[in-house]
Protein backbone atom coordinates (compact mmCIF):
# COMPACT_ATOMS: atom_id res chain seq x y z
CA UNK A 1 0.00 0.00 0.00
CA UNK A 2 1.42 3.34 -1.00
CA UNK A 3 0.10 6.83 -0.65
CA UNK A 4 1.47 10.27 0.13
CA UNK A 5 -0.17 13.41 1.44
CA UNK A 6 -0.33 16.37 -0.93
CA UNK A 7 0.06 19.93 0.27
CA UNK A 8 -2.90 22.13 -0.54
CA UNK A 9 -3.17 25.62 0.97
CA UNK A 10 -6.62 25.22 2.44
CA UNK A 11 -7.11 21.48 2.54
CA UNK A 12 -5.35 18.12 2.27
CA UNK A 13 -4.98 15.64 -0.52
CA UNK A 14 -3.67 12.13 -1.18
CA UNK A 15 -1.73 10.66 -4.08
CA UNK A 16 -2.07 6.88 -4.25
CA UNK A 17 0.02 4.49 -6.39
CA UNK A 18 -0.86 0.82 -6.74
CA UNK A 19 -0.43 -2.13 -9.02
CA UNK A 20 -4.13 -2.66 -9.75
CA UNK A 21 -7.26 -0.52 -9.77
CA UNK A 22 -8.72 -2.72 -7.03
CA UNK A 23 -5.74 -2.03 -4.75
CA UNK A 24 -5.83 1.64 -5.72
CA UNK A 25 -9.40 2.05 -4.49
CA UNK A 26 -8.73 0.04 -1.32
CA UNK A 27 -5.63 2.05 -0.46
CA UNK A 28 -7.43 5.35 -1.11
CA UNK A 29 -10.11 4.30 1.40
CA UNK A 30 -7.46 3.30 3.91
CA UNK A 31 -5.61 6.60 3.39
CA UNK A 32 -8.78 8.59 4.03
CA UNK A 33 -9.51 6.78 7.30
CA UNK A 34 -5.90 7.18 8.43
CA UNK A 35 -6.54 10.92 8.36
CA UNK A 36 -9.68 10.51 10.45
CA UNK A 37 -8.43 8.06 13.08
CA UNK A 38 -5.84 5.34 13.72
CA UNK A 39 -7.25 2.27 11.92
CA UNK A 40 -4.72 0.03 13.69
CA UNK A 41 -6.61 0.67 16.92
CA UNK A 42 -9.88 -0.58 15.41
CA UNK A 43 -11.13 -4.17 15.60
CA UNK A 44 -13.47 -4.22 12.60
CA UNK A 45 -16.20 -5.84 14.67
CA UNK A 46 -19.05 -5.07 12.25
CA UNK A 47 -19.27 -5.64 8.51
CA UNK A 48 -21.43 -4.42 5.67
CA UNK A 49 -21.60 -4.48 1.89
CA UNK A 50 -21.35 -1.36 -0.26
CA UNK A 51 -22.21 -0.83 -3.93
CA UNK A 52 -21.18 2.33 -5.76
CA UNK A 53 -21.59 3.66 -9.31
CA UNK A 54 -19.72 6.34 -11.27
CA UNK A 55 -19.55 7.78 -14.78
CA UNK A 56 -15.82 6.95 -15.04
CA UNK A 57 -12.98 5.85 -12.71
CA UNK A 58 -12.40 9.30 -11.07
CA UNK A 59 -16.12 9.72 -10.44
CA UNK A 60 -16.32 6.14 -9.14
CA UNK A 61 -13.42 6.76 -6.75
CA UNK A 62 -15.02 9.95 -5.45
CA UNK A 63 -18.39 8.25 -4.98
CA UNK A 64 -16.69 5.32 -3.19
CA UNK A 65 -14.90 7.64 -0.75
CA UNK A 66 -18.09 9.70 -0.34
CA UNK A 67 -20.01 6.57 0.58
CA UNK A 68 -17.41 5.60 3.18
CA UNK A 69 -17.32 9.14 4.55
CA UNK A 70 -21.09 9.02 4.82
CA UNK A 71 -20.74 5.83 6.95
CA UNK A 72 -18.63 7.91 9.33
CA UNK A 73 -20.48 11.24 9.36
CA UNK A 74 -23.94 9.79 9.84
CA UNK A 75 -23.64 6.22 11.10
CA UNK A 76 -20.50 6.84 13.23
CA UNK A 77 -18.68 3.92 11.56
CA UNK A 78 -14.88 4.03 11.67
CA UNK A 79 -13.66 1.81 8.85
CA UNK A 80 -10.93 -0.72 9.70
CA UNK A 81 -10.68 -2.59 6.41
CA UNK A 82 -12.19 -2.65 2.95
CA UNK A 83 -12.23 -5.55 0.50
CA UNK A 84 -13.39 -4.83 -3.05
CA UNK A 85 -15.00 -7.88 -4.68
CA UNK A 86 -15.94 -6.48 -8.06
CA UNK A 87 -14.69 -3.35 -9.81
CA UNK A 88 -14.92 -1.97 -13.33
CA UNK A 89 -14.93 1.59 -14.74
CA UNK A 90 -18.47 2.33 -13.57
CA UNK A 91 -19.25 0.11 -10.62
CA UNK A 92 -17.79 -1.51 -7.55
CA UNK A 93 -19.01 -3.68 -4.72
CA UNK A 94 -17.11 -4.13 -1.51
CA UNK A 95 -17.29 -5.48 1.99
CA UNK A 96 -16.14 -3.18 4.77
CA UNK A 97 -15.38 -3.90 8.40
CA UNK A 98 -15.75 -1.15 10.97
CA UNK A 99 -16.19 -0.20 14.62
CA UNK A 100 -18.88 2.07 15.94
CA UNK A 101 -17.26 5.27 17.23
CA UNK A 102 -16.72 5.27 20.97
CA UNK A 103 -15.26 8.53 22.30
CA UNK A 104 -13.67 6.61 25.20
CA UNK A 105 -11.51 4.45 22.95
CA UNK A 106 -11.25 6.20 19.58
CA UNK A 107 -9.44 9.44 18.89
CA UNK A 108 -10.58 11.55 15.95
CA UNK A 109 -7.56 13.17 14.34
CA UNK A 110 -9.14 15.22 11.59
CA UNK A 111 -12.57 16.15 10.33
CA UNK A 112 -12.73 15.21 6.64
CA UNK A 113 -15.84 17.04 5.52
CA UNK A 114 -16.05 16.17 1.84
CA UNK A 115 -14.30 14.46 -1.08
CA UNK A 116 -13.83 17.02 -3.87
CA UNK A 117 -13.63 16.70 -7.65
CA UNK A 118 -10.89 19.31 -7.72
CA UNK A 119 -7.85 17.93 -9.58
CA UNK A 120 -9.23 14.41 -9.02
CA UNK A 121 -7.65 11.82 -11.28
CA UNK A 122 -7.34 8.07 -11.78
CA UNK A 123 -4.75 7.14 -14.41
CA UNK A 124 -3.02 4.00 -15.60
CA UNK A 125 0.77 4.34 -15.57
CA UNK A 126 3.62 2.09 -16.71
CA UNK A 127 3.92 0.83 -13.15
CA UNK A 128 0.20 0.39 -12.48
CA UNK A 129 -2.35 2.93 -11.31
CA UNK A 130 -2.21 6.37 -9.76
CA UNK A 131 -4.95 8.47 -8.18
CA UNK A 132 -5.14 11.98 -6.74
CA UNK A 133 -7.90 13.22 -4.44
CA UNK A 134 -8.30 16.49 -2.49
CA UNK A 135 -10.44 16.46 0.67
CA UNK A 136 -12.29 19.38 2.17
CA UNK A 137 -11.25 19.62 5.82
Amino acid sequence: MAYELIDHTADIGIRVTETSIKNLFETAAHAMFEQITEPAKLNGTHTKKIHVKGIDPPDLLINWLRELLWCWTIDNCLVRKVAINVINNNHLSAKISYDKFDPKTHEILKDIKAVTYHDASVVQTDAGWEATIIFDV
Partner: protein, 477 residues
Protein backbone atom coordinates in the same frame (compact mmCIF):
# COMPACT_ATOMS: atom_id res chain seq x y z
CA UNK B 1 -1.20 34.17 -18.95
CA UNK B 2 -0.08 37.73 -18.53
CA UNK B 3 -1.08 39.57 -15.39
CA UNK B 4 -1.54 43.28 -16.13
CA UNK B 5 -1.52 45.83 -13.32
CA UNK B 6 -4.43 48.30 -13.74
CA UNK B 7 -3.78 50.52 -10.71
CA UNK B 8 -2.36 50.26 -7.17
CA UNK B 9 -4.88 47.65 -6.11
CA UNK B 10 -6.10 45.86 -9.24
CA UNK B 11 -4.59 43.34 -11.65
CA UNK B 12 -6.22 41.76 -14.68
CA UNK B 13 -5.87 38.71 -16.92
CA UNK B 14 -7.40 39.76 -20.21
CA UNK B 15 -10.10 37.70 -21.88
CA UNK B 16 -8.43 34.99 -23.99
CA UNK B 17 -9.12 31.48 -25.29
CA UNK B 18 -12.28 30.00 -23.76
CA UNK B 19 -12.65 32.89 -21.26
CA UNK B 20 -15.93 34.78 -21.67
CA UNK B 21 -14.83 37.71 -19.48
CA UNK B 22 -11.51 38.92 -18.02
CA UNK B 23 -10.30 37.88 -14.55
CA UNK B 24 -9.70 40.76 -12.14
CA UNK B 25 -7.79 40.56 -8.85
CA UNK B 26 -7.77 43.04 -5.95
CA UNK B 27 -4.40 42.83 -4.25
CA UNK B 28 -1.22 44.73 -3.38
CA UNK B 29 2.26 44.66 -4.86
CA UNK B 30 3.47 42.59 -1.89
CA UNK B 31 0.63 40.06 -1.83
CA UNK B 32 0.28 39.47 -5.57
CA UNK B 33 3.73 37.85 -5.73
CA UNK B 34 2.75 35.18 -3.19
CA UNK B 35 -0.48 34.36 -5.04
CA UNK B 36 1.43 33.82 -8.29
CA UNK B 37 3.00 30.69 -6.80
CA UNK B 38 -0.35 28.96 -6.43
CA UNK B 39 -2.93 27.62 -8.88
CA UNK B 40 -5.28 30.40 -7.86
CA UNK B 41 -5.17 32.32 -11.15
CA UNK B 42 -5.92 29.16 -13.11
CA UNK B 43 -8.99 28.66 -10.96
CA UNK B 44 -10.13 32.23 -11.57
CA UNK B 45 -9.61 31.80 -15.31
CA UNK B 46 -11.74 28.62 -15.14
CA UNK B 47 -14.54 30.62 -13.51
CA UNK B 48 -14.27 33.21 -16.32
CA UNK B 49 -15.22 30.43 -18.76
CA UNK B 50 -18.62 29.62 -17.23
CA UNK B 51 -21.71 30.42 -19.33
CA UNK B 52 -23.51 33.70 -18.60
CA UNK B 53 -20.77 35.21 -16.42
CA UNK B 54 -21.00 39.02 -16.40
CA UNK B 55 -18.26 41.70 -16.41
CA UNK B 56 -15.37 39.73 -14.88
CA UNK B 57 -14.39 36.83 -12.63
CA UNK B 58 -13.35 38.72 -9.51
CA UNK B 59 -10.91 37.88 -6.73
CA UNK B 60 -10.65 39.65 -3.41
CA UNK B 61 -7.24 40.25 -1.73
CA UNK B 62 -7.63 37.24 0.59
CA UNK B 63 -7.76 34.98 -2.49
CA UNK B 64 -6.19 31.58 -2.13
CA UNK B 65 -6.26 28.21 -3.80
CA UNK B 66 -9.60 26.48 -3.25
CA UNK B 67 -11.30 23.82 -5.34
CA UNK B 68 -13.37 24.82 -8.33
CA UNK B 69 -13.68 28.52 -7.49
CA UNK B 70 -10.75 30.06 -5.64
CA UNK B 71 -11.50 31.16 -2.07
CA UNK B 72 -12.09 34.91 -2.20
CA UNK B 73 -13.89 34.62 -5.54
CA UNK B 74 -16.91 36.61 -6.75
CA UNK B 75 -18.82 35.92 -9.96
CA UNK B 76 -22.18 37.25 -11.16
CA UNK B 77 -24.30 35.45 -13.75
CA UNK B 78 -27.06 36.54 -16.09
CA UNK B 79 -30.35 35.04 -14.89
CA UNK B 80 -31.41 33.89 -18.38
CA UNK B 81 -28.14 32.64 -19.85
CA UNK B 82 -26.12 31.99 -16.71
CA UNK B 83 -25.43 29.10 -14.38
CA UNK B 84 -25.56 28.38 -10.69
CA UNK B 85 -22.69 26.31 -9.33
CA UNK B 86 -22.63 24.41 -6.01
CA UNK B 87 -18.82 24.53 -6.18
CA UNK B 88 -19.08 28.31 -6.66
CA UNK B 89 -20.76 28.57 -3.27
CA UNK B 90 -18.63 25.96 -1.54
CA UNK B 91 -19.34 23.13 0.84
CA UNK B 92 -19.97 25.21 3.95
CA UNK B 93 -23.03 27.04 2.64
CA UNK B 94 -23.51 30.32 4.52
CA UNK B 95 -20.31 29.98 6.42
CA UNK B 96 -20.30 33.38 8.04
CA UNK B 97 -19.46 35.70 10.87
CA UNK B 98 -21.50 37.45 13.52
CA UNK B 99 -20.36 40.11 15.91
CA UNK B 100 -21.97 41.30 19.14
CA UNK B 101 -20.82 44.09 21.39
CA UNK B 102 -21.31 44.38 25.16
CA UNK B 103 -21.15 47.01 27.89
CA UNK B 104 -18.27 45.13 29.54
CA UNK B 105 -14.80 46.64 29.26
CA UNK B 106 -11.40 44.94 29.03
CA UNK B 107 -10.55 46.17 32.54
CA UNK B 108 -13.58 44.34 33.95
CA UNK B 109 -13.04 41.15 31.96
CA UNK B 110 -9.25 40.68 32.07
CA UNK B 111 -9.08 39.36 35.70
CA UNK B 112 -11.69 36.67 34.91
CA UNK B 113 -10.49 35.82 31.41
CA UNK B 114 -9.28 32.29 32.12
CA UNK B 115 -12.57 31.42 33.88
CA UNK B 116 -14.47 32.91 30.99
CA UNK B 117 -12.66 30.98 28.28
CA UNK B 118 -12.99 27.70 30.22
CA UNK B 119 -16.73 28.30 30.68
CA UNK B 120 -17.18 29.13 27.00
CA UNK B 121 -15.22 26.04 25.96
CA UNK B 122 -17.51 23.83 28.00
CA UNK B 123 -20.72 25.58 26.86
CA UNK B 124 -19.97 25.71 23.13
CA UNK B 125 -19.89 22.26 21.48
CA UNK B 126 -16.69 22.43 19.41
CA UNK B 127 -14.61 20.01 17.38
CA UNK B 128 -15.28 16.87 15.36
CA UNK B 129 -18.35 14.92 16.40
CA UNK B 130 -19.32 17.37 19.15
CA UNK B 131 -22.98 16.97 20.03
CA UNK B 132 -25.62 19.62 20.42
CA UNK B 133 -28.02 19.69 23.35
CA UNK B 134 -30.78 20.58 20.87
CA UNK B 135 -32.61 17.43 19.81
CA UNK B 136 -34.60 18.25 16.69
CA UNK B 137 -37.40 16.12 15.26
CA UNK B 138 -37.54 16.05 11.45
CA UNK B 139 -40.57 18.42 11.38
CA UNK B 140 -38.70 20.86 13.65
CA UNK B 141 -35.56 20.60 11.53
CA UNK B 142 -37.65 21.47 8.48
CA UNK B 143 -38.96 24.55 10.31
CA UNK B 144 -35.34 25.59 10.95
CA UNK B 145 -34.54 25.12 7.26
CA UNK B 146 -37.57 27.12 6.22
CA UNK B 147 -37.28 30.05 8.65
CA UNK B 148 -33.62 30.29 9.82
CA UNK B 149 -32.93 32.87 12.53
CA UNK B 150 -36.65 33.34 13.15
CA UNK B 151 -36.90 29.72 14.39
CA UNK B 152 -34.05 30.33 16.82
CA UNK B 153 -35.49 33.58 18.19
CA UNK B 154 -38.98 32.06 18.54
CA UNK B 155 -37.45 29.19 20.51
CA UNK B 156 -35.70 31.47 22.98
CA UNK B 157 -32.28 31.83 21.35
CA UNK B 158 -31.90 35.58 21.02
CA UNK B 159 -33.91 38.74 20.54
CA UNK B 160 -36.24 39.99 17.79
CA UNK B 161 -33.79 42.82 17.13
CA UNK B 162 -31.11 40.28 16.13
CA UNK B 163 -33.11 39.53 12.99
CA UNK B 164 -32.90 43.15 11.81
CA UNK B 165 -29.12 43.01 12.12
CA UNK B 166 -28.70 39.80 10.14
CA UNK B 167 -28.05 39.67 6.39
CA UNK B 168 -31.36 38.85 4.67
CA UNK B 169 -32.96 38.92 8.14
CA UNK B 170 -31.50 35.45 8.66
CA UNK B 171 -33.78 33.78 6.16
CA UNK B 172 -33.67 33.08 2.44
CA UNK B 173 -37.30 32.90 1.45
CA UNK B 174 -36.94 30.34 -1.33
CA UNK B 175 -35.82 27.62 1.08
CA UNK B 176 -37.73 24.42 0.42
CA UNK B 177 -36.91 21.41 2.63
CA UNK B 178 -38.37 19.05 0.01
CA UNK B 179 -35.40 20.02 -2.24
CA UNK B 180 -32.83 18.36 0.03
CA UNK B 181 -31.88 14.72 0.57
CA UNK B 182 -32.51 12.53 3.58
CA UNK B 183 -28.74 12.41 4.07
CA UNK B 184 -28.57 16.21 4.37
CA UNK B 185 -31.40 16.12 6.91
CA UNK B 186 -29.61 13.39 8.88
CA UNK B 187 -26.35 15.33 8.97
CA UNK B 188 -28.11 18.51 10.10
CA UNK B 189 -30.36 16.93 12.70
CA UNK B 190 -27.67 16.48 15.34
CA UNK B 191 -25.64 19.60 14.63
CA UNK B 192 -27.73 22.71 15.29
CA UNK B 193 -25.86 24.68 17.96
CA UNK B 194 -22.38 23.31 17.27
CA UNK B 195 -19.27 25.25 16.25
CA UNK B 196 -17.55 22.59 14.13
CA UNK B 197 -13.83 22.29 13.47
CA UNK B 198 -11.15 23.71 11.16
CA UNK B 199 -11.08 27.50 11.07
CA UNK B 200 -14.34 27.97 12.97
CA UNK B 201 -14.13 29.85 16.23
CA UNK B 202 -15.71 31.94 18.95
CA UNK B 203 -13.61 34.93 19.92
CA UNK B 204 -13.78 37.41 22.77
CA UNK B 205 -12.24 40.66 21.59
CA UNK B 206 -11.75 44.29 22.52
CA UNK B 207 -12.53 47.31 20.34
CA UNK B 208 -8.94 48.44 19.88
CA UNK B 209 -9.10 51.31 17.42
CA UNK B 210 -11.80 53.39 15.76
CA UNK B 211 -11.25 54.68 12.22
CA UNK B 212 -14.71 56.07 11.48
CA UNK B 213 -16.27 57.65 14.60
CA UNK B 214 -19.72 58.17 13.12
CA UNK B 215 -20.13 54.66 11.71
CA UNK B 216 -18.61 53.06 14.83
CA UNK B 217 -21.10 54.88 17.01
CA UNK B 218 -24.00 53.73 14.85
CA UNK B 219 -22.64 50.15 14.89
CA UNK B 220 -22.39 50.42 18.72
CA UNK B 221 -18.60 50.04 18.80
CA UNK B 222 -16.74 51.95 21.52
CA UNK B 223 -13.05 51.67 22.41
CA UNK B 224 -12.16 49.11 25.11
CA UNK B 225 -15.58 47.48 24.99
CA UNK B 226 -15.76 43.69 24.84
CA UNK B 227 -17.03 41.99 21.68
CA UNK B 228 -18.05 38.42 20.86
CA UNK B 229 -17.31 37.19 17.34
CA UNK B 230 -18.45 33.87 15.93
CA UNK B 231 -17.32 32.12 12.74
CA UNK B 232 -19.21 29.00 11.68
CA UNK B 233 -21.70 27.81 9.07
CA UNK B 234 -24.18 25.13 8.08
CA UNK B 235 -22.04 22.21 9.32
CA UNK B 236 -22.61 18.79 7.76
CA UNK B 237 -25.97 19.89 6.38
CA UNK B 238 -24.39 22.37 3.96
CA UNK B 239 -21.65 19.92 3.00
CA UNK B 240 -24.20 17.27 2.14
CA UNK B 241 -26.31 19.67 0.05
CA UNK B 242 -23.22 20.73 -1.91
CA UNK B 243 -22.02 17.14 -2.30
CA UNK B 244 -25.45 15.86 -3.45
CA UNK B 245 -25.80 18.50 -6.15
CA UNK B 246 -22.18 18.25 -7.30
CA UNK B 247 -22.72 14.52 -7.74
CA UNK B 248 -25.99 14.91 -9.67
CA UNK B 249 -24.67 17.74 -11.87
CA UNK B 250 -21.46 15.80 -12.59
CA UNK B 251 -23.52 12.78 -13.61
CA UNK B 252 -25.23 14.96 -16.22
CA UNK B 253 -21.91 16.25 -17.61
CA UNK B 254 -21.53 13.34 -20.03
CA UNK B 255 -25.22 13.45 -20.98
CA UNK B 256 -25.11 16.84 -22.69
CA UNK B 257 -24.60 18.86 -19.51
CA UNK B 258 -22.69 22.15 -19.39
CA UNK B 259 -19.00 21.44 -20.15
CA UNK B 260 -16.65 22.76 -17.44
CA UNK B 261 -12.84 22.88 -17.17
CA UNK B 262 -12.95 21.33 -13.67
CA UNK B 263 -15.64 18.95 -12.40
CA UNK B 264 -15.76 20.85 -9.13
CA UNK B 265 -17.35 23.63 -11.25
CA UNK B 266 -20.22 21.36 -12.35
CA UNK B 267 -23.23 23.62 -12.67
CA UNK B 268 -26.75 23.96 -14.03
CA UNK B 269 -28.57 26.73 -15.86
CA UNK B 270 -30.18 29.06 -13.30
CA UNK B 271 -33.46 28.58 -15.15
CA UNK B 272 -33.50 24.77 -15.13
CA UNK B 273 -35.11 22.27 -12.75
CA UNK B 274 -31.67 21.27 -11.40
CA UNK B 275 -30.55 24.89 -10.95
CA UNK B 276 -33.79 25.87 -9.24
CA UNK B 277 -33.73 22.84 -6.97
CA UNK B 278 -30.13 23.58 -5.93
CA UNK B 279 -31.04 27.18 -5.09
CA UNK B 280 -33.96 26.04 -2.89
CA UNK B 281 -31.74 23.45 -1.17
CA UNK B 282 -28.84 25.91 -0.73
CA UNK B 283 -31.30 28.37 0.85
CA UNK B 284 -32.26 25.67 3.41
CA UNK B 285 -28.61 25.20 4.38
CA UNK B 286 -28.15 28.99 4.57
CA UNK B 287 -31.09 29.25 6.96
CA UNK B 288 -29.68 26.39 9.05
CA UNK B 289 -26.39 28.33 9.36
CA UNK B 290 -28.14 31.50 10.53
CA UNK B 291 -30.09 29.56 13.16
CA UNK B 292 -26.82 27.86 14.20
CA UNK B 293 -25.00 31.16 14.76
CA UNK B 294 -28.06 32.57 16.54
CA UNK B 295 -28.09 29.61 19.00
CA UNK B 296 -24.33 29.73 19.63
CA UNK B 297 -24.31 33.46 20.30
CA UNK B 298 -27.12 32.93 22.79
CA UNK B 299 -25.02 30.30 24.61
CA UNK B 300 -22.12 32.77 24.73
CA UNK B 301 -24.39 35.47 26.17
CA UNK B 302 -25.55 33.12 28.96
CA UNK B 303 -21.93 32.31 29.84
CA UNK B 304 -21.01 36.02 30.05
CA UNK B 305 -23.99 36.74 32.33
CA UNK B 306 -23.09 33.80 34.58
CA UNK B 307 -19.35 34.51 34.87
CA UNK B 308 -19.85 38.23 35.57
CA UNK B 309 -23.06 37.67 37.53
CA UNK B 310 -24.89 40.40 35.65
CA UNK B 311 -28.35 40.84 34.15
CA UNK B 312 -29.08 40.98 30.41
CA UNK B 313 -29.68 44.69 30.89
CA UNK B 314 -26.25 45.32 32.41
CA UNK B 315 -24.49 43.13 29.86
CA UNK B 316 -26.39 44.95 27.09
CA UNK B 317 -25.17 42.51 24.45
CA UNK B 318 -26.29 43.74 21.01
CA UNK B 319 -25.80 42.12 17.66
CA UNK B 320 -23.81 44.42 15.37
CA UNK B 321 -24.35 42.24 12.30
CA UNK B 322 -24.28 38.73 10.86
CA UNK B 323 -22.79 38.21 7.39
CA UNK B 324 -22.50 35.15 5.19
CA UNK B 325 -19.46 34.63 2.99
CA UNK B 326 -20.28 31.42 1.04
CA UNK B 327 -23.49 31.95 -0.91
CA UNK B 328 -25.27 32.54 -4.23
CA UNK B 329 -27.94 35.23 -4.26
CA UNK B 330 -30.24 37.02 -6.67
CA UNK B 331 -29.54 40.75 -6.47
CA UNK B 332 -30.07 43.85 -8.61
CA UNK B 333 -26.91 45.49 -9.90
CA UNK B 334 -26.15 48.09 -12.55
CA UNK B 335 -24.41 46.38 -15.47
CA UNK B 336 -23.22 48.59 -18.36
CA UNK B 337 -25.53 51.37 -17.18
CA UNK B 338 -28.63 49.19 -16.85
CA UNK B 339 -30.18 47.72 -13.73
CA UNK B 340 -30.12 43.95 -14.00
CA UNK B 341 -31.07 41.03 -11.76
CA UNK B 342 -28.08 38.73 -11.48
CA UNK B 343 -27.04 35.68 -9.49
CA UNK B 344 -23.97 36.67 -7.45
CA UNK B 345 -21.75 33.82 -6.21
CA UNK B 346 -19.58 34.77 -3.24
CA UNK B 347 -17.15 32.06 -2.21
CA UNK B 348 -15.09 33.39 0.64
CA UNK B 349 -16.32 36.91 -0.06
CA UNK B 350 -18.65 39.18 1.89
CA UNK B 351 -21.59 41.27 0.74
CA UNK B 352 -20.71 44.96 1.08
CA UNK B 353 -23.81 47.00 0.28
CA UNK B 354 -23.53 50.77 0.08
CA UNK B 355 -25.32 53.41 2.18
CA UNK B 356 -28.95 53.74 1.16
CA UNK B 357 -29.32 50.19 -0.14
CA UNK B 358 -32.91 49.01 0.43
CA UNK B 359 -31.75 45.59 1.73
CA UNK B 360 -30.13 47.21 4.77
CA UNK B 361 -31.89 47.67 8.08
CA UNK B 362 -32.90 51.33 8.71
CA UNK B 363 -30.18 51.52 11.41
CA UNK B 364 -27.48 51.12 8.76
CA UNK B 365 -28.96 53.00 5.81
CA UNK B 366 -26.60 55.96 6.39
CA UNK B 367 -23.42 53.99 7.11
CA UNK B 368 -23.60 51.17 4.59
CA UNK B 369 -23.62 47.51 5.58
CA UNK B 370 -21.40 46.45 8.48
CA UNK B 371 -18.77 44.01 7.15
CA UNK B 372 -17.04 41.61 9.54
CA UNK B 373 -13.52 40.49 8.64
CA UNK B 374 -11.91 38.05 11.09
CA UNK B 375 -8.14 37.74 11.15
CA UNK B 376 -6.08 34.96 12.67
CA UNK B 377 -6.39 34.21 16.38
CA UNK B 378 -3.30 36.17 17.39
CA UNK B 379 -3.64 39.41 15.47
CA UNK B 380 -6.81 41.41 14.84
CA UNK B 381 -10.21 41.48 13.21
CA UNK B 382 -11.82 44.40 11.42
CA UNK B 383 -15.24 45.94 11.04
CA UNK B 384 -15.73 47.74 7.73
CA UNK B 385 -18.66 49.38 5.95
CA UNK B 386 -19.99 48.94 2.43
CA UNK B 387 -19.44 51.61 -0.22
CA UNK B 388 -20.85 52.72 -3.56
CA UNK B 389 -17.58 51.63 -5.18
CA UNK B 390 -18.24 48.01 -4.23
CA UNK B 391 -21.64 48.32 -5.92
CA UNK B 392 -19.94 49.77 -9.02
CA UNK B 393 -16.99 47.37 -9.26
CA UNK B 394 -17.53 44.11 -7.35
CA UNK B 395 -21.27 43.42 -7.35
CA UNK B 396 -21.41 44.76 -3.78
CA UNK B 397 -18.70 42.40 -2.47
CA UNK B 398 -15.47 42.55 -0.50
CA UNK B 399 -12.96 40.24 1.24
CA UNK B 400 -13.91 37.75 3.98
CA UNK B 401 -10.82 37.17 6.11
CA UNK B 402 -7.09 36.82 6.16
CA UNK B 403 -6.81 33.89 3.75
CA UNK B 404 -4.38 31.05 4.31
CA UNK B 405 -0.76 31.40 3.28
CA UNK B 406 0.66 28.13 4.68
CA UNK B 407 -0.74 24.69 3.93
CA UNK B 408 -1.78 22.62 6.95
CA UNK B 409 1.34 20.46 6.65
CA UNK B 410 3.60 23.52 6.38
CA UNK B 411 1.88 25.09 9.39
CA UNK B 412 2.43 21.94 11.46
CA UNK B 413 6.09 21.98 10.47
CA UNK B 414 6.42 25.65 11.45
CA UNK B 415 4.75 24.94 14.81
CA UNK B 416 7.08 22.07 15.74
CA UNK B 417 8.87 22.63 19.03
CA UNK B 418 6.86 25.77 19.83
CA UNK B 419 4.26 26.24 22.54
CA UNK B 420 1.71 28.25 20.61
CA UNK B 421 -0.57 28.38 23.65
CA UNK B 422 2.20 30.02 25.68
CA UNK B 423 3.16 32.38 22.84
CA UNK B 424 -0.44 33.60 22.64
CA UNK B 425 -0.81 33.84 26.42
CA UNK B 426 2.30 36.02 26.49
CA UNK B 427 0.38 38.36 24.18
CA UNK B 428 -2.61 38.24 26.55
CA UNK B 429 -4.70 35.84 24.44
CA UNK B 430 -6.17 32.69 25.99
CA UNK B 431 -7.01 29.85 23.60
CA UNK B 432 -8.88 26.56 24.08
CA UNK B 433 -9.23 24.08 21.24
CA UNK B 434 -10.77 20.69 20.58
CA UNK B 435 -8.84 18.99 17.74
CA UNK B 436 -5.34 17.56 18.23
CA UNK B 437 -3.83 19.44 15.30
CA UNK B 438 -6.10 22.52 15.36
CA UNK B 439 -3.67 24.78 17.19
CA UNK B 440 -0.77 24.13 14.80
CA UNK B 441 -2.87 24.23 11.61
CA UNK B 442 -4.61 27.45 12.65
CA UNK B 443 -1.55 29.22 14.06
CA UNK B 444 -1.28 32.95 13.25
CA UNK B 445 1.66 32.35 10.84
CA UNK B 446 -0.62 30.19 8.63
CA UNK B 447 -2.60 33.27 7.56
CA UNK B 448 -1.94 36.39 5.53
CA UNK B 449 -1.56 39.61 7.45
CA UNK B 450 -5.16 40.74 7.90
CA UNK B 451 -4.13 44.40 7.94
CA UNK B 452 -2.64 44.07 4.44
CA UNK B 453 -5.86 42.47 3.16
CA UNK B 454 -8.05 45.16 4.73
CA UNK B 455 -5.77 47.94 3.48
CA UNK B 456 -6.41 46.75 -0.10
CA UNK B 457 -10.21 46.84 0.19
CA UNK B 458 -10.03 50.19 2.01
CA UNK B 459 -7.45 51.64 -0.37
CA UNK B 460 -9.31 50.51 -3.46
CA UNK B 461 -12.51 51.96 -2.00
CA UNK B 462 -14.65 48.80 -2.12
CA UNK B 463 -15.03 49.00 1.70
CA UNK B 464 -14.20 51.47 4.41
CA UNK B 465 -12.43 50.80 7.72
CA UNK B 466 -14.62 51.43 10.77
CA UNK B 467 -12.90 49.69 13.68
CA UNK B 468 -10.20 47.21 14.62
CA UNK B 469 -10.78 44.48 17.20
CA UNK B 470 -8.05 42.75 19.23
CA UNK B 471 -8.59 39.13 20.34
CA UNK B 472 -8.17 38.25 24.02
CA UNK B 473 -9.77 34.78 24.21
CA UNK B 474 -10.55 32.21 21.52
CA UNK B 475 -12.39 28.88 21.38
CA UNK B 476 -11.40 26.80 18.32
CA UNK B 477 -13.00 23.63 17.00
Amino acid sequence: MELIQIDNFRWEIQKQGPMRVPARIYSSGAMIEAIKKEETFKQLVNVAQLPGIITAALAMPDIHWGYGFPIGGVAAFDCDEGVISPGGVGYDINCGVRLAVTNLTEKEVRPHLENLINALFSAIPAGVGSMSDIKLSYPDLKKVLKTGSDWAVKNGYGEDTDILHTEDHGCMEDADPSAISQRALDRGKKQLGTLGSGNHFLEIGVVDKIYDETAAQIFGLFENHITVMLHTGSRGMGHQVCDDFLASMTKKLHKGGIPVPDRQLACAKIKSPAGEQYYRAMSCAANFAWANRQVLMHHAKNVLMRIFNISPRDLAMRLVYDVCHNIAKFESHVVEGKKQRVCVHRKGATRAFAPGHPALSPDYRDTGQPILIPGDMGTASYVLSGTQKSMDETFGSTCHGAGRVLSRTAAKKAAKGRSLKRELEDKGIFVRWAGRSTMAEEMPDAYKDISQVVNVVHGSGISKKVAKLRPIAVVKG
